[in-house]
Symmetry: C2
Subunit: 380 residues, 2 copies
Amino acid sequence: MDYSQRSLEMHRKMRGKLEIQPTVPLDTRDDLATAYTPGVAQPCLEIAKDKNLVWDLTIKGHSVAVVTDGSAVLGLGNIGAEAALPVMEGKAILFKKFGGIDAYPICLATQDVEKIVETVKLIAPGFGGINLEDISAPRCFEVERRLIEELDIPVMHDDQHGTAVVVTAGLTNALKVVGKKIEDVSVVISGAGAGGMGVANLLLVAGVRHMTMLDSKGIIAVGREGMNVYKDEIATRINPNARTGTLADALRGADVFIGVSQPGIVTGDMVRSMAKGAIIFAMANPVPEIMPDEALAAGAAIVATGRSDFQNQVNNVLAFPGIFKGALEGRLRKITPTMRFAAAKALAGMVVEPTAEKILPSPLDPGVADVVSGAVKNSM
Amino acid sequence: MDYSQRSLEMHRKMRGKLEIQPTVPLDTRDDLATAYTPGVAQPCLEIAKDKNLVWDLTIKGHSVAVVTDGSAVLGLGNIGAEAALPVMEGKAILFKKFGGIDAYPICLATQDVEKIVETVKLIAPGFGGINLEDISAPRCFEVERRLIEELDIPVMHDDQHGTAVVVTAGLTNALKVVGKKIEDVSVVISGAGAGGMGVANLLLVAGVRHMTMLDSKGIIAVGREGMNVYKDEIATRINPNARTGTLADALRGADVFIGVSQPGIVTGDMVRSMAKGAIIFAMANPVPEIMPDEALAAGAAIVATGRSDFQNQVNNVLAFPGIFKGALEGRLRKITPTMRFAAAKALAGMVVEPTAEKILPSPLDPGVADVVSGAVKNSM
């Protein structure tokens, strides 16, 4: 099916994808006097007396701002605030559909870290959480760190952490299928942007001990050209001997490949050089690092991609609605790595008997967000 | 009825008053692939090529941000961003109910003019218009002026202009009832904040030639204490001889009183001192400048208030949904005084035979927003 054309037509016909609906009646003078003046003064006064009541008496307790600067939208790159809006609207309606959360897209006319942080802080009073989206690396790391520090509501950059939770869940089940332990496997991550960093950090929490990370210039290592403070930080942890090399070097004998990078960069020969029972997460969009049939033909035991037209889709929608639902219901001020790991384990647990063809639940399975939100709340 | 208690209970039960709803299906993998990835890339690319398409392919073309800093909320004063949220939610759902516009409340954690302007500019890409709300005078004038100059979408401070449009409509019909011409009457405006300034400016456009304006210190006049640049500006136009005096002085012989000020400041004696066929707009909230029965007993011909429990309610909801609807449908970059005067005339025209008890349509009358939006679009 031509989703592109169909999507364009739908957006034109519906003028986007969301609307605001009153949840209270507005049909009579009494209705207006209750929902608006003079009645509305009472909830205002209650909140003025005790600011915490804003969580109970307004949308704040069930709302999230989906914030972008349009700098790294899907695989399309820096297309700007306006062109990012269809993606943010999509995210917003997925929040509602799967998490019961009322999310509104906020597209910022700046790509300056300081201004993004300041603007989000200034609009925060009316929101219960902030979902950062499609902000390019490495700026996204500082934006998220600053907002987590400076705001008292949960802030999460989904490109990092949503991806990480679903990959960690999928890898947990994939390792079960091939009969390996997470402490023993060697994991190769291709991509040191938002997705790669998020995945690497959560897999370290999950217990991975042997990890190699690459960017477009090869294995990241302190002192190599093209590094930045974030790459240095993780390279210090996972590559203390500053080993360098290519993707082919890194994959030789590896158990797991996780790609959040570029289409077509993994060859059949590279897969053949991996250990027996190789697990491939090829999540470049829209074209994976290696196509599933080619990876399987080269001996991979399990293949996952970001696409809905292949088995084992790694889809962030498995994670973000439930994570924010849990954070909002639990009134959590921060979403921690412990919570995200709990979410990943809970997601993995939804597949009772994982197989090579089924390592993750479907976003359309009932109860996904409830399982994830429960795990997040109970991980405190 | 105790609207206060009822409103509080409703807000607690419903956790505010609005929700975000998808307008497209999300029930199957095909649905997800159309509304979100991979399909959503296509509308993004179209907008990246031609930024104007954001009006056709997203919520922008039918959305308004309801922005406040919480500094002058209802009659409650400076209660802050969080406590203002119930009012902004109310405004948002009135936009939807009466104008078909999707409006979202944005409550700012700052009362600094520069920061308000900057923040609104930075979040503007996703909105089709900006409704400023409950920002205290005189800061509200600069915030509005700056945003009108610096943004390419319509911006309107409703406390000024919504009020002005409805008062001008009501006065037009009231003058018909008492058989006076707008050029001939003398109008006294009590209150030189947002509402007073908005009313004064639009009545000058409407043809009023004799106008006196007062603040809490008496008649405004250049050189008097307690003036500011905005009061000076209008005093120069309407009070060139710098006449001073009290409210009682101003009302003696006047035809029209318009109060957007303080409860109970107009006495029966003051009304008795006015010209025959006196018209009283006593819009202080929640208690008017003079109660309707007292004003009528003192000889007033027509009384209007801001309250829904008396006849002739001056309710901004008669104006703002239609004004923004017209501005969005007409892709107008600014909302001008000419458009607002056209809106007022159209509103007045909806009451075919005005009487002392009926000078304005009801917000619940069908078609109000369409009449207003049509007038706005056609006034270009």
